[in-house]
């Protein structure tokens, strides 16, 4: 499918994706939680059956992995992007106390991860699993006979990541593709998922160039503990003491803006574009930029990107960009077949500069 078609089905119905870029491990043993706590930047204030989004940082404070920590009885399942399982294992070896009793089990290839995202993703799942899946809160998971269902997603729509036992994956894929097809959708590529993540303000460890940046600049302080020790903690403290100078801010533009482009205002440079992509949802470019802290706010029209012979104005905006359709869908009352989008507010409430 073309990007626009994939995008439309994900934003209005449901779409199915392979998640080969995501790692999945189980850390078990008496000290599993303590070991995971030692390498993750956030406080692990998360119950059994829930998920916590956190980070693994490098010593200089930059995000190295985007991690969901999922306590499962006494073990911890980790779903992560940005590093390999070997790298995760090395991180544990380096930063967790060697005396801790833990075992690391790579859940791949025993399991494969596939994902369903969209305002009606729950409808596909309620048929593929059981109807009570609609009661699963955001950032929760549970085990079923052929795997585990994680309700998460990085698109701003209902999202379910399914870890399915390898022997059943192909059949699961066929069944879900059919169910998603009935909801006007099909397969969505990683490119579409990443576009949706960008629009909804989800940090992408695979895209953001994070050299010299810490969670302070990246607006990820919420994933960082104020009280514990973890790799990168010292660098963050240092940056805090020194004062941060730039902050990641979202923007929109008509066209011709790319990652790496310098941003100026009438008086001089103010920052740089760190990510940009054409968004069918807004009919223009959606992007993120590192701006000087003094002007790193949404609602500003004074900036532009300079290219050869041309100035492209950008407008800074609050994230998320879109009024996701999922906010208007209630699984207890609605269905895809009986949906009526005519009276819904528009997908995007803003305008291009």
């Amino acid at each position: 499918m073309r990007l626009e078609d994939e995008y439309r089905s994900l934003r209005h119905g449901a779409a199915l994706s392979r998640m080969d870029h995501v790692g999945l491990v189980r850390v078990s043993g008496d000290d599993a939680t303590e070991a995971v706590d030692a390498i993750c930047s956030g406080d692990l204030w998360v119950r059994d059956g829930r998920m916590l989004q956190t980070l693994i940082l490098g010593e200089p404070g930059q995000p190295v992995a985007d991690v969901y920590v999922c306590p499962d009885d006494d073990a911890c399942v980790l779903m992560f992007e940005g590093i390999t399982t070997e790298e995760l294992s090395a991180c544990l070896a380096e930063y967790a106390d060697p005396e801790l009793a833990i075992e690391l089990e790579d859940l791949r290839p025993a399991y494969e991860l596939i994902s369903v995202n969209g305002p009606y993703a729950w409808e596909a799942l309620s048929k593929w699993l059981t109807p009570d899946v609609i009661g699963l809160p955001y950032l929760s998971f549970y085990h079923f006979d052929r795997g585990t269902c994680f309700r998460a997603g990085k698109t701003g729509e209902y999202g379910y990541d399914l870890a399915v036992r390898s022997g059943y994956v192909e059949r699961a894929w066929e069944e879900l593709l059919e169910l998603v097809g009935a909801l006007g959708g099909g397969e969505a590529s990683l490119e579409t998922l990443d576009l949706c993540a960008l629009e909804n303000g989800f940090f992408s460890v695979r895209h953001a160039s994070v050299e010299g940046l810490t969670p302070l600049e990246l607006q990820l302080q919420w994933r960082v503990s104020a009280r514990k020790r973890f790799p990168g903690a010292a660098a963050i403290e240092e940056r805090r003491a020194k004062g941060m100078e730039r902050r990641l801010t979202h923007f929109v533009a008509r066209e011709g803006v790319e990652s790496g482009d310098p941003i100026r205002d009438a008086d001089g440079p103010v920052g740089q574009v760190t990510a940009a992509a054409f968004s069918p949802g807004i009919g223009g470019v959606a992007g993120m930029a590192l701006l000087d802290l003094s002007v790193a706010h949404p609602g500003i029209d004074a900036f532009f990107v300079t290219g050869p012979n041309v100035e492209r104005p950008i407008r800074t905006v609050s994230s998320p960009l879109l009024f996701n359709r999922s906010l208007l869908v209630d699984p207890h009352r609605h269905t895809y077949a009986t949906r009526d989008e005519t009276s819904d507010p528009p997908l995007w409430l803003g305008s291009l500069p």
Partner: protein, 96 residues
């Protein structure tokens, strides 16, 4: 719309600071207001507010900022991050 950039930024930063303080107090967070990212999601992830906190937030926004959201069909769009709250407050100020 930015008529005067520095005026806009000042008023925005003032509201941002007040909203951060209000959230910090409502959620009983033991952090400095500056540690609350302006684009942090409020519900589910981010600050991790739940439905009980949501009720209190709506009350506080009304009491502290005069922002009445109850009954508005677009409540869920306006209360997604700290910045969206600041947007709503500034919008209210522009209307009066």
């Amino acid at each position: 719309m930015t008529t005067n950039l520095s005026d806009y930024v000042s008023s925005r930063e003032a509201v941002l600071d007040r909203v951060r303080r209000m959230l910090r107090d409502t959620m009983k967070l033991r952090i400095e207001p500056e540690a609350i990212d302006p684009d942090v999601p409020l519900f589910g992830t981010g600050l991790g507010m739940d439905s009980v906190d949501a009720v209190e937030l709506v009350v506080q926004l009304d009491a502290v900022f005069g922002l009445t959201l109850a009954g508005s069909p677009w409540v869920s769009a306006k209360l997604r991050t700290v910045n969206t709250i600041v947007d709503a407050i500034l919008e209210l100020g522009n209307e009066t």
